[in-house]
Symmetry: C2
């Protein structure tokens, strides 16, 4: 397979994966494009390569910066802004875990906390409280594990995986 074909295939697949995880397609594609680019790219180059408008490129590049997945590189003597993706895949995974935890796990923990201990008696109430308790327990454990992963270095995680897989 030729390089250009392989790149296109990867960008396309990454975009699809992103959208099935609630991340918009273009954002994932820009990320993929920057991951496979040796040098940083300008907004113009991103627009050209992905055939998208300036507004779209700008908006998604900013979203990627918010997620901490790409950085703005200032090339001396150049006015244009260049963008570069973090290339360490473990760091990328940790960064994504961090953002999703903050945006999604934490809100559900808050709700579970709020609905805990419903007034009244009866099977319905008992069942509800038991279920919410289990869910909070589970979600809390997931949260703690994510924290550990987010703080970990690659080596720690690798060792842990070896343990898990033994």
């Amino acid at each position: 397979m030729e390089l250009e074909e392989a790149k296109a295939k990867f960008i396309q697949a990454w975009g699809t994966l992103g959208s099935s995880w609630g991340i918009n397609r273009t954002m994932s594609q820009i990320h993929a494009l920057l991951i496979v680019s040796v040098d940083p790219l300008t907004t113009e180059e991103i627009m050209d390569q992905l055939k998208i408008s300036r507004g779209n490129a700008n908006m998604n590049v900013r979203a990627l910066m918010d997620w901490g997945l790409i950085t703005k590189e200032l090339v001396p003597g150049e006015r244009k802004e260049y963008f570069q993706a973090g290339k360490d895949i473990w760091q990328v995974a940790r960064q994504i875990a961090k953002e999703r935890k903050r945006r999604e796990v934490e809100p559900i923990l808050e709700v579970l906390d709020q609905v805990k201990e419903v007034k009244g008696t009866g099977a319905e109430v008992d069942e509800f409280n038991r279920m919410m308790g289990e869910l909070e327990d589970f979600t809390g454990k997931a949260d703690t594990t994510l924290d550990k992963f987010i703080r970990s270095d690659e080596n720690w995680f690798y060792k842990t995986l070896l343990t898990l897989m033994k």
Copy 2:
């Protein structure tokens, strides 16, 4: 908080969580509704409680059955179908992990396999191959870990978490 208010809050929160993970809101809400219902519900009851149409209810109940998250219960002497959610939260998590692995992790592994070993030389090609290699390594590890989790019993996972959290 009253039971009905708490249920509504949970159903709403679960729906929102679902949609940020690429699962449609109604599907998540039906799942939540069945999780907090002591007894199985009919399509009619689901429609009433969530204020949704028959078509919508039917389609999402089937999707939940495809995911293995709810089952059809046949009540003797009744013609209507009743639906019930699995109440063991670890089992629910394992089932979701299983489906998402099949639908999302496996396709990306296939693509990574396809784009591996691009022809040609130069920094671009080397960088691309290195990056795809890292990604495949990472994704493969995630895949293996998911497998382990899917096959695990609650007790195994609980013990592992304790180890991770020590």
